[in-house]
Amino acid sequence: MEMIQQRCLWQFVSRAHDREENIDGVLTLVGILLTGGSPKLETPMDRLHYANANNLVSEIKTDLPWLGHLPKDDLFAVVTGAIKRIHEITVKKSKNGELFIPGY
């Protein structure tokens, strides 16, 4: 969690709906990439999430090598837990009063 919080700006964009889209988009791809899957890169947003996810995966492999050795189900459980926790910190329990302002 500390690594994601320190390194990843995509979780802190201005509005809740954009944060949610980024968190789900990037971290789902992180799970796929860590288990050797090939993500579909069909739209510009797919490529954006891939760019963010791929760099996070590289950092995970360097700093948290044990994660790559987990069985697939355990690894997906870790990623699912991370998605839930990042949603909590940056959206659901966030004290940021501007997250739900309509418009930018």
Binding site: R47, K93, N96
Partner: protein, 463 residues
């Protein structure tokens, strides 16, 4: 530790909600300073006004545009030449200050005629320049002038000119942040899409939220050029008015300063479907990550790795020389907002420095979410810090150097504490690999200069 009421703030207890000291195990769901809120009467705020945020930070950077300030001359003078953003056309934007020079009689009788006359005079005096920004100020907003109507009339008379009006007087918001917002939203809705850029590369971006402070844009532009990436618009470092009208054709928005220009990136995504990629352009590790993300987006990873290797070979030994000598030094960052989170981990990772206090003039809560996530435990985080708070925090954390702007810098200098200009830099650029070596050099020179101690001596006693 919850929010902190400093001793100097006992008579302004509301300030407790603006000062936080991070402790182990805490996160931003527990404590987050109030920010982007009106300055509490009685505090000695260091903030700039909303007009300043539009003109000094963003609009005034454009290199081919007259900046007509509709108001008393002070509004023009005070936002002229105080930030160093050069251009490759002889620094047109730094050479002149334009103003309608509104007086009392104009306040009484209206100043629209004066505005029209000033616009025509400026275009006549500079016949090669065909683009203009007009800014309202407190006085001309209060008397109800309609600069958009005046601009429309001038464009009807002179079809070869184009004018953009920023209606953001100083009182329009709580800080300069409002000026960023008004300019961003006005530009996307009124000007983007009017010019079709010539596409010369399969890879196109807008580089958003970089203002070419002492050549930052030049450093980044070299990287983009080496990667074969065409920048349709720098928003707004070394940019032209018309380049920024063609932002809608980029494939990717790469955002550096999310505070001053995140709005236009969001709107470009919403209106034109262009994705927004936030990066940090300061620091070796963060810069490399940012470049790698752009490489992954376009599928040009090999080129990016080659560039990073080349840059690190050239600059890393120099950075490491400073790191050896700066390790453990204590730094305070008291700037606008984003540099707190851009810099705090970067100086820690790349230079071994501890950031012990951070203050933001115009950051919003999202900026504090980022900086608290990245910042150290025990560090003091302040929104809209006032002068007495700065004195008290200096006593608490005893920084070796303070990176801040000229206003707080003057205060710091009087205390004989090393100060480096964190806004316009001492000897930049600071972005990119070479830029961070420049930052390290200014840091090293500041903490090792004998002048600070000498300035505190009574010269008669020394003799």
């Amino acid at each position: 530790m919850p929010m902190k009421l400093l001793d100097c703030d006992t008579v302004i207890p509301e300030r407790e909600q603006h000062v936080y000291i991070k402790e182990a195990g805490e996160d931003t769901t527990q404590f987050l300073p109030v920010s982007n809120a009106a300055t509490i009467p009685g505090t000695l705020s260091e903030r700039g006004c909303a007009f300043c945020g539009a003109k000094l930070v963003i609009g005034g950077v454009l290199k081919d545009t007259i900046q007509m300030i509709h108001g008393p001359f002070g509004c023009s003078y005070d936002t002229w030449h105080t930030k160093r953003y050069p251009s490759d056309n002889g620094n047109f934007q730094l050479k002149y200050a334009w103003s309608t020079n509104v007086k009392e009689k104009n306040v009484v009788f209206g100043a629209e005629k004066l505005l029209k006359q000033s616009i025509l005079e400026a275009f006549d005096a500079m016949p090669t320049i065909k683009r203009m920004f007009i800014y309202t100020t407190c006085s001309t907003a209060l008397i109800g002038d309609d600069p958009k109507a005046v601009a429309k009339a001038v464009i009807a008379e002179r079809p070869d000119v184009d004018i953009f009006v920023v209606e953001c007087p100083g009182f329009a918001g709580v800080s300069q942040s409002k000026g960023h917002h008004v300019l961003n939203m006005g530009w996307i809705h009124e000007k983007v899409g009017q010019v079709e850029p010539k596409i010369t590369s399969p890879y196109t971006i807008n580089f958003i939220g970089d203002y070419n402070i002492q050549g930052d844009t030049d450093v980044l532009q070299r990287y983009w050029h080496k990667l074969g990436i065409q920048v349709l618009a720098h928003f707004t470092g070394n940019a032209t008015y018309d380049e920024c009208r063609g932002m809608h054709r980029a494939q990717l928005n790469v955002v550096n300063c999310a505070r001053s220009a995140g709005y236009i990136a969001n709107e470009l995504h919403k209106k034109y479907g262009i994705p927004r990629l936030d990066i940090d352009s300061w620091g070796f590790s963060y810069m490399a990550t940012g470049l790698r993300k752009v490489g992954d987006f376009f599928g040009i990873q090999d080129k990016v790795e080659e560039l990073i290797e080349e840059e690190e070979d050239k600059w890393k030994p120099k950075l490491d020389w400073y790191k050896e000598r700066l390790k453990g030094k204590k730094m305070a960052i008291w700037t606008g907002g984003p540099r707190l989170w851009h810099w705090t981990r970067a100086v820690e990772d790349d230079l071994g420095v501890q950031v012990v206090a951070m203050a933001s003039k115009f950051g919003h809560q999202e900026d504090f979410e980022k900086v608290i996530a990245r910042g150290r435990e025990g560090t003091v985080y302040i929104d809209d810090g006032n002068e007495l708070e700065f004195f008290e925090v200096i006593d608490m954390v005893k920084p070796d150097v303070i990176f801040t702007g000229p206003r707080v810098g003057e205060l710091v200098k009087k205390l004989h504490i090393p100060y480096v200009n964190g806004h316009a830099y001492h000897n930049g650029p600071y972005m990119g690999f070479e830029g961070f070596v420049n930052l390290a050099r200014d840091f090293y020179n500041a903490v090792n200069s004998p002048l600070w101690a000498l300035a505190g001596q009574n010269i008669q006693e020394v003799q």
